[in-house]
Amino acid sequence: MIRGSRLHARWLLLAMAALALMLGSAACGGDDSGDDAGDTSQSTEAATEDPIVIGSAVALTGGLSAFDLPAVAGTEIAIEEINASGGILGRQVKLVKADTKSDINQGARAGLEVLEQGADAMIVTLDYNFGGGAAREAQKAGKVVIAPGAGSAKFGVQGIGNMAYTLGIAAQTDSTVAAEWGIEKKGFKTAYLLLDDVTDYDKDQCSSFKQVWTELGGEILGEDTFKNNDTSVAAQVTRIKSLGQEPDLIMLCSFPPGGAVAVKQLRDADVNSAIISNGAMDGTYWFEDSIPNLSGFYITASASVWGDDPSDRINEFVEKVTAKDKQPQSYFTVLGYIAVYTFKTAMEQANSTDGAAMVAEMDTWDKEDIGGLALTFTPEQHIDTAREERIIEVNNGKHRVVDVRAAKKQLPLFGS
């Protein structure tokens, strides 16, 4: 029997009407700010005090905020630094934010929101799919857009347009570095591929690794797949243990939490091979309590947030973040920081905030030093394949940089 009473229909309609009103007023508000933006752009020459607006259309809430919020923290510090030292082109820099809610369909909307607030350049979620919606709006509006960590070459001329750049590393580059390091530096002979087949980045990474590893004379003992939300990889572990020979290196193409589960269950089952993974597995948060003395685990990363990066500039930045908040958990915070300096350098070189002028400069960069990282772009390729990657080892629960190397072999980024 149902118990409970019915809400008076009138109240519900009233609530809907109130919401509609709110919407209506918001619409007018939106128009107003749009007009304001128009006014400012017309009067730019007259009043140079107007701030340069950087729009951040990222996941402030939801699952992806785990990666986006650290990047935003880096962005904020960069803006503080720049404002303290006179701004860009003599203008102060202002950050406006819009939340994509980690919802792939809210990306475009968030992009439009920051554009309406007058964004001169945009930072989006560090993923081709999730950042793409907002990035396309920036492209349409003729603004340069950066995804701090998107690992797909599609985030660029080919998939978005000529205004889109990523500071991330392609899966192909990441795995080439990993394979060359394993064979050349560590002298490993055998490898095993463990693929979390949920994202294309991970699929590309494992297939590229396999190609480079075998070309360099290494042997692939076997491969297996799992899903990021699997609560158990016991069957996959059993397959490895049944090999008869423990592989020297396990290439783990995954990200937390699935990747964390895999590492734990491998170690719990006494599989002691070295494990290498990508930047998504940076940080201590995913193992500090569950595998406190994790060893023999490696990642490839664009920068180290563990205080020993080859670039002093980056180490200084990390100190600042730590002092302000706490120890950063991934190098994405560095990329959020560098994104702002990328805009700064491009605007200053072009002496303009115009998107096309900035692109013209950026496409000529060859190991341009931006905030401690050397960036290389070409008109065709808006992802950096010449990056000196850091191989970071986790030994007894502590991170440290053990090698710095760029990919020697350049795999094709499309149609592989």
Binding site: S102, F226, A234, A235, D289
Partner: protein, 294 residues
Amino acid sequence: MTEVLQYVIDGAALGSLYALFALGIGLIFGIMNLINFAHGELVMVGGYVLVFVSAPSTIVRVTLMIVIVIVFALVMERVAFRPVRGARADTLLVTSFAVSFLLQSLAIVLIGALQKSVGILSSLNESFTVGELSIRKLDVFTVAVTAGLLAALVVFLGRTRLGVQMRAAAEDFRMARALGVRANTVIATAFALSGLLAAVAALILVAQTGVVSPTMGLTVVLAAFIATIVGGLGSLTGAVLGGYVLGALTVALQATLPLGYRPYRDAFVFAIVVLVLILRPQGLISSRAVVERV
């Protein structure tokens, strides 16, 4: 041979976990026709309690976690499900979506989207060997705890007054009330029990995976949903059986599918599930037709 046995152990451990998930859902469904999607969030709450509560002894930590999860389950029943009791099945289901969504969103707002790692029962992470077989202590623990809980549940439902009342209510809620069985007591008991099951599931899950995240409940509840329906809705034996079948099927497919087809593993699982349901529309154990004792 060793390899096959090893897979059997993997399947048994995974199946036990699924059985615990499914039992928590099946218990509530039997009594109030509600597929409680928020059950997964009870597991999540349990996980976070283990993250944030550091007690000197594991026993205290786990006991505290169980108590908190049971309280959560009871509050959930009182606040969200009692007012819609007896409504259409879809209303009940969506109410539980809303509760689930609310708890997930709260967890993200209050704790953050980044998962946390947890160390619990780490002494069980070692393996011991029997012949050529290497067995994780945690797997043995999982199977044993599940079996123990099942036995306790059988005794409770079969031997106690409240247990008999619950079984009666599951079969014919209206008639049970006509005999004086208190609806509130029976439903609250069911939620407390499902809270207990969720807490134990959380303990085992977290010990196995070492991570807790705001969205971890979804995996739990999807596995439970499939297992209870395959097993036969409304039958607790069915829920347990469904859990083990799902666990075994997943491991078997993972072990035998050729590499190129392994990404499609879950698609095969679902296809087989549908096939089973076409052959046995009431599930493996049909609750109303077969006399059962659990």
